[in-house]
Every structure is written in C-alpha cells, then in structure tokens.
Amino acid sequence: MSSRALKGHSLWYGGWLRLKRNKVAVFSGIYICILCLIALFAYQISPYAFDEQYMDRILESPNLVHWLGTDSLGRDMLSRLIHGARMSMAVGIITAIISLIVGASYGAVAGWIGGRVDAIMMRFVDLLYSVPTLVLLILVKVVFDSMPLFTNPELKALTGMLLALSVVGWVTLARMVRGQVLQVKQLTYVESARALGASGGRIVLRHIFPNILGPIIVVLTFQIPSNILYESFLSFLGLGLQPPFSSWGVLANEGWRSLRSYPHLIISPGLALFTAMLAFNLLGDGLRDAFDPQSR
C-alpha cells in the first residue's frame, strides 16, 4: 500500500514540477483562473448592468463611456462580455463535470464488470458515435428547453444547453475511462487487492480512480473548450441560451453578420472566445505532457 502512495506522490509531484517548467501552460492556467474569477464576480465587476438598455446610445463604437461600445439595444458590450464569460465558463465547466460523472461511472462500470455487460454497454456507446451530432444536439436542446426544470433564471437559461452538450460529451469520457480501467485492472496491486477480498466499488474508487485521474484531467481540459465551441455552434443555429443571458457564443453569433458594418460587435467576443479556447488547449497540452504517463 505504502509503495502505491509513494508512487502516487511522486507521480503528482513530478508532474507538477514538469508543468511548472512549461511557461506557456502556466500562463494559460493563470489566464483561465482570471477568467474564472471574472465569471464568478461578474455582477460585481461589470461597469453596467448587462441588460440595461441605453436607447440613446445604440450601436456606438468603443468610447470612453462604453469601452467596447454598445450593441443593437444600447447595452454595454464590456458588461455583456463579462457576463458572457460567466455563461460560457458555466457551459464549459458544468457540462464537462456532468459528462465526467456520467461518462466515468459508465465507463468504470463497463470496464470493471467486463464480459457480456461490457460488450452491451460499449455497443450502446458505439451506437451514439454513429448518430449525427448535429441532429442529436438540436433535438435534445429543443426538447429540454421546453421543460421547466429550474426556477433560477440563469440556470433555467442554461438547462437545455447543458443537457444537450452532456448527451454528446459523456461518450468520449466513457470510452476513455473504460480503457484505462481495463488496463489498470490487470496491474498486480489491483489483482492482489482483489484477491484480498476488497469489494469492486472500493477497488475502483480507492485504487483505480487515483491512477487514471491524470488522463481524466487532461481529457477534461480539452472537453471544456470543445463545449464552449459547441455552445457557440448552437448559437449559430439560433439555439443559443435563453435571453437576456448571453454567452460569448451568442455575442459572437450576433456579431459576425455585422463584420462589415459594426466590427466592434464581433471583435471583442471573437477575441474573448479565441483566447479562452487557446488557453484551455495550451493548458491541456501542458497537463498532458506533465501528467499523462503514456505520453511521457
């Protein structure tokens, strides 16, 4: 047991050291932390209320009063961008967590039980891979948007989006976790724990999970930007968040059509979207190099 603890310790410690040396990844990490803070304190730091309309200041270019200009309803773009961070990050992170919980438990159960159960469970996953994502996203989004599940307006605006993206997202995680569990299952210490009569759930939680945490974190870091991207994609289809809430995807989608007439509507959300995606991808690369034992 103690050797495992030591191994785990050295794994994390070594990984941490490697990550710290990767300046790009560290910088991306810091940027993401800042974005998270902005998202959490959106209501406190935004200069104007995000849905306050200034009818005499419609579609202004960036100026001293409205640093990033105003939109077609005279709302402050900077405030909308800050609240957009809140929504986009929520979509990215919450969806990743839902997919993780569903996908990881599904994959772990399939991998651990193995045999016929595994075969059937994985056949279902394969099936989902053959369903066109777009159709699934649209149908699920339309169905869940029409169900009143939450009363909190922010959560209500998010529900359909979160569920639709999770339905698509968990599959990757299920496959990955199953593969990892299958691998780790054959390791000697797991086999010995099994021989000692430890229960399945206990072994998966105590022994296997810590071992595959590294790869999972890496996959999660890549899932977040892909969720944010899918969110903007759904906004493009006109299936974005419920107004007046808007994410970067919604803002960018409102903006791209105006590239030639009101470029300020697209530049700021476009840049926000781009830099955040970049940061997540770079951090993901760094984390993979540092923590994923296979790529070492």
């Binding site: 369903v131 159709v135 149908l139 903007s232 994609f233 995606m277």
Partner: protein, 361 residues
C-alpha cells in the same frame, strides 16, 4: 511483408485515380457517369478480393450486419424522439381551421396510432421508400436527399483532402524539428486553428479575399472560385487536429527501438522519416478518420449556411424547425449511414494496413 506488396499493387494506383477524379470535379470537368461507376466497381471488386484473400469474409460480414442493426436502431430512436418534440408539422402562424388540419393529418396518416405509423415507416424504410416531405409538397425524401447530397459530399471530400494535405506534412515537419522554432510555429498555428469557430473565420476570409482582393466569390457553389473558401474554412480546422495527431505519433515512433537500430545502422534521417516512421505513424491518423469525418459533417452546416451552398446541412436544421418528420428521419439516416460506412471502412483499412491487428471474429 506480403501484405505490403499486394497493397502496393492495388491501393496506391486506385487512390491516385480517385484523387484524380476528385481534382477533376474541383475544376468543374464533367466526368461521364460510367467512369464513376467503373471506378466504384473496381474498388469494390478489389476490396472483395482482399477480403477473401485474407480470410476476413466472416469479419466483414459480421460488421455489415452490425452496421445494419445500428442504422435500424438509430432510425427507431429518432422516430420516437421526434414524437416527443413539442409542436407539429402543420402548426403555423395563421392557425388552420380544425377541419382542414384534420384533413391534412389524415392525408399524412398522422391520425393513426403511433405504432402503426412506426410500422409503416419501417416497412417503407426496408423497401427504400422514405416517404414524402410535409413541407416540400409532392417531393420524395430520397429525391430531396439525392439532389442536395452531391454538393455536401463534394465540400466534405475537398475539406478532408485539404486536411490530410496540410495536416500530415505539417505534423511531420513539427516532429522533425521537435522543440525548435518550426515546431513551435506550426503547433501555434494548429492550436489557433482549433480555437476559432468557423463562423468567425469565414466572414473574415470573405472580407479579405472577396471584397479586398477580389479573388474568390463570396457565396454559391459553381466552380473553383466558389469552392476554395468554404473548403479552406472547413478543411483547416480538421488539418489542425491532424497535424497535432501526426506530430505526437511521429514523436512516439521515433523513440521506438527499430528506428534507433536503423539510425545506428547509419540510414539517412529522411529515409528513416519517410520509409519507416511515416508509415507507422499514419495509423493513428487512419483510426482518427472516423471522428474526423463526423466533425466535418457537423461543421459543414455552418459553412454551407454562410456560403449558401445547396447542400444537405440546411435540411438537417430546417427540417427540425419545420417538423418535417420524414425529412428529419431521412437526413439523420443519411448521415448515420455515412458515419457507419466510414467507421467500417476505417476499421477494414486498418486491418489491411496493419496485419498485427487481431480481428475479433
């Protein structure tokens, strides 16, 4: 080794031929249909021969049956999901008098019990009849799909080719100069490529190349000047993913023992790279082609919409908002079949290329 020789005799010339056909379509050269048919027949015959030659008939048969079941399950699931969708096909801004609505629903058999509707649909499906659109009166679903599929397939194939064409060399190059500036530059490009939604790239490219330089057309689908931008937008995202994949895979292979041996034996770096490393490191690219095609299909809607390409992506989205049940089912089926077939092809190619793969028969 024997596998390799046989594949060389069959695979590459065929691949070049197909490539030639695709390039020809790009330049709007009209190709007589018998060329297409004979190319397809030759390919199928070759594949069949290989299947028998390597004793994979049972495996291929099993996979085909599985694929059929998959498609049937997806069709049924979509059928059910559609009936959960609130709102019907004949709800409109100007509500119809109930008698008229009833007459219309009777005409489309929407007044029948769900099970009967499902039965009719499945029977029709087996007979290859997808029914008639609710929105486009008098038009068969198969006809609509057949008319809109070519543009989409064209766009998808160009994008896929572009992705390989850019992605593989860039990936190899990055690995070759691992941790030096070309590597950093290419990887920065690749990461940027996956970080921008295509609906941001497309308008910017249109602004530059159509209104600034006047090289290409801003929309429609009628020749090389129209094809380039959409292909670029759709293909570069995939290229970025491939470049990253190839780089990682080449780096891994380089570390393998036989490469070290080769290097010790004094083989030149480029011989090593192209003869031994590349061959082996392209296998992950092949494996990844399934998800890649899925991604291109999903992404093609945005590109088709922005560039007004008369493809099938529009139907996929519009049919849902119109609640045109037969058309939703039709497009879903077409895409599932494409995905299933591509996955099957990838698996088979994989088995041909790498004889080490154990087939679970």
């Amino acid at each position: 080794m024997m596998t390799g020789r046989l594949n060389l005799a069959f695979g590459p010339p065929l691949a070049i031929f197909w490539l030639g056909l695709v390039v020809a379509t790009f330049f709007d050269v009209s190709i007589p249909s018998f060329v297409w048919w004979s190319a397809a027949a030759y390919t199928l015959a070759g594949a069949f021969w290989h299947t028998i030659r390597y004793g994979m008939l049972a495996y291929v048969g099993k996979r085909l049956v599985e694929s059929l079941i998959t498609v049937a399950v997806i069709a049924s699931a979509t059928f059910l999901l559609l009936r959960v969708l609130p709102g019907g096909p004949f709800d409109s801004e100007k509500a119809l008098p109930p008698e008229i609505k009833a007459a219309i629903e009777k005409k489309y058999q929407l007044d029948q019990p769900l099970l009967v509707q499902y039965g009719n649909f499945m029977v029709g499906l087996v007979q290859g009849d997808l029914g008639e659109s609710y929105k486009y009166l008098g038009r068969n679903i198969s006809e609509i799909l057949a008319e809109s599929l070519p543009a989409s397939v064209q766009l998808g194939v160009y994008a896929l080719l572009l992705a390989y064409l850019i992605g593989i060399p860039f990936g190899v190059l990055a690995a070759r100069y691992h941790n030096r500036w070309p590597d950093h530059l290419l990887m920065a490009l690749a990461i940027s490529g996956v970080s921008v939604p295509s609906f941001l790239v497309a308008p910017i490219l249109i602004l530059i190349f159509c209104f600034g330089l006047g090289w290409f057309e801003p929309a429609l689908w009628d020749g090389p000047a129209y094809y380039i931008l959409p292909t670029w937008v759709l293909g570069t995202r995939a290229a970025a993913v491939i470049a990253r994949l190839v780089r990682a895979s080449v780096l891994e292979v380089i570390k393998a023992d036989y490469i070290r041996t080769g290097r010790a034996k004094g083989l030149s770096e480029s011989t090593l790279l192209f003869k031994h490393v590349l061959r082996n490191s392209l296998i992950p690219v092949l494996t990844f082609s399934g998800p890649l095609i899925a991604g291109i299909i999903t992404g093609s809607f945005v590109v088709e919409q922005i560039f007004a390409i008369p493809g099938i992506g529009k139907h996929m989205v519009l049919s849902v908002s119109n609640r045109d049940y037969p058309l939703i089912l039709g497009t879903t089926l077409v895409f599932s079949v494409i995905l299933v077939v591509c996955n099957l092809l990838v698996d088979l190619l994989y088995a041909y290329v790498d004889p080490r793969i154990k087939l679970n028969v």
